[in-house]
Amino acid sequence: MLRIAFSRTCRSMSIASPSSVSESDTSVRKIGKALETYLKNSQQHVAMMEKHRTEFETGRRHLAKMMSLDIHELDQEAIDRAIQYLFPSGLTDPNARPVMRPPDEILPKFQRFTFDEEGKPEGTRFFTLNPKIYGLMSEIGVKTQSVMKFYDEHVGSRSVNRNDLEPANLSGSQWITADKIKKKLSEKFSNELYGQVIIAFEHLASLPGSAIEQKFLSEFREPMTASTGSKLFGPAIPEVQICAESNKRYAEVTTHCKDTRATVRVTDAGKGKYNIDGLQLHDFRHLQAREILLAPMIISQTLGRFDVAATTSCISNSLPEAPNREPLRRSGGMSALPRAVRHGAALCIAALHPESTESLRLSGLLTLDPRKNERSKVNQPGARAKWIWKRR
């Protein structure tokens, strides 16, 4: 008989401790070597995490003092702002910039296994190293077999619903992404395995008679509309909402152009009115600005159908500044403002009037313009310009 006596410290482990701990002095104190190492590593990990957590807490207090904030005001957002101010970084990759986050979020997780009292790992496919995803593949395989059998048995007979002998109806949806399957199964796996799963799914869905597994298949499908957002550069096409007061459809999106950020709201069944920070279309004196503002309606041939309301702000003003310094008051450029509104309005029209999405996309109105004012360099008058060189 194997009796395992655990020390108190490992009570947080997910192992079911045997009921007979009280008999530990009489029974054999034996434990598998593998399990022993696992327990040791687990304890080490717990101790390390504890250390890092206390370090983080002390660091937070120091930071609060440095930024002259109360410790309770210093939430994660405030920490991020402070770090951005204290350690300004021009590194392009956001992952390479300095961060300060709770250790539980950033340190590698310790993989916990579930064992029974004899140290046997749980799950019949444990040794395949990817038990969950292989389990899913087996499930698909078994269902494939049963679908084939079902079709062979019932083809030509009238005892079943004719629709059941058709392939599953999966139009308007697509297979969920690898990340979503990973989240769903809570297991990591390689892209190669994801490809195999999708091939197996495709095979099952293509079989006649797979309609009986429609429910299973649709668990792993997602609506196609979510994908168009990923194809566009910049913000995705927003969802259509319904205004509670006027009962009209509307869409709202936030976008930017150069230094101007614009939140645009387009309402259906309107009169073609514009309200941009209180300005109407005719308040824009420049003809180019009016043309820009009207462009999405002209292309989608919906002039006079939508009302556009937009509020704009300057992006530079929202960037963090030193707490002791008066923030700069800048304003976005006048030519960028209509372009930011145009992009937002085009996205909203694409949502409210899906027939024109393709023509809007082809004319480039759904694409974000990512260009920014280039920073000026030290020892130069501008971004590229140089002082005139002169021999002494």
Binding site: L2, V28, L35, T37, F113, E118, R125, T128, L129
Partner: protein
């Protein structure tokens, strides 16, 4: 052949020493522990250690599988069909009855003898609470193997074998885990006709293996051989049924011993 048997006894002993903590101390063996000289001699001539092995392990057919395995059932399950004679492995000729118009045929009397031994080994492992990993690379029977392993609470691996699964668990899983106590191959060849990589890995980790070997398989590095047809679903189904029964008998015996204590 002799090498295989010596390997088998060796592995059996290795296993028995590993699980000796599980075993009930039997009066005949607890009194005697081999001294150093005997142990040294045993490394060359393992048979001298036989008196020190527990009585239950000395029994040839403790779980009485001789009654369970019938030649005519095996015959009906098409166990006796081998491959074409052109593909035969030289080390498998001992298990063949002969060839019929170019088709190899297994001698089911030999197969029965080996199957009974393998089943006894499985039951012994199961009786001591061991873990058995069922492995196959045959796509026709992979789901049956998985299902059978799940039914008896054992482990299965019917997918692509990642090298190091047994030898390098620490790196692959992030922690050392208990390895299976026996690996059972329902087919030892991959679809390309190469040996399954798990055979070598199990041998490296001194894990005893049971292998269903067809006439074209390579029996090297396998501890317990079952010469049989590994391609036909009916044949695999029969063998799985036998292995399941062996595991169950071992588990029942274990339950009985635990309750009796």
């Amino acid at each position: 052949m002799r090498r295989v048997i010596s390997l088998a006894t060796h592995a059996e002993r290795a296993f028995s020493s590993r699980v000796s903590a599980l075993q009930k101390p039997t009066p005949s063996t607890s009194s005697s522990v081999p001294d150093r000289a005997t142990l040294e001699k045993g490394t060359v001539q393992p048979t001298v250690l036989k008196p020190f092995v527990s009585a239950s392990l000395q029994h040839e057919d403790l779980f009485n599988f001789e009654k369970l395995v019938h030649v005519d059932e095996m015959f009906k399950a098409r166990i006796h069909y081998g491959h074409k004679v052109g593909t035969v492995n030289n080390n498998m000729k001992w298990a063949l009855y002969g060839e019929r118009l170019g088709v190899c045929l297994f001698d089911l009397d030999i197969t029965k003898q080996y199957l009974v031994r393998a089943l006894n080994f499985v039951a012994h492992v199961s009786m001591r609470g061991g873990m058995i990993l069922f492995v196959t690379s045959n796509r026709d029977t992979m789901f049956d193997v998985e299902k059978a392993a799940e039914e008896v609470g054992q482990y299965s691996h019917v997918r692509k074998w990642q090298s190091g699964t047994l030898t390098n668990t620490r790196q692959l899983l992030g922690a050392s885990v208990r390895l299976p106590d026996a690996v059972c191959f329902l087919s030892t060849l991959t679809s390309l006709g190469e040996n399954h990589p798990a055979i070598i890995e199990a041998a490296k980790m001194a894990i005893p293996t049971i292998g269903v070997v067809d006439s074209n398989s390579d029996p090297a590095y396998l501890t317990y051989l079952v010469p049989a047809n590994d391609d036909t679903p009916q044949s695999t189904e029969y063998l799985l049924r036998m292995f399941k029964e062996a595991v169950r008998r071992g588990q029942d015996e274990r339950k009985r011993l635990q309750q009796g204590k």
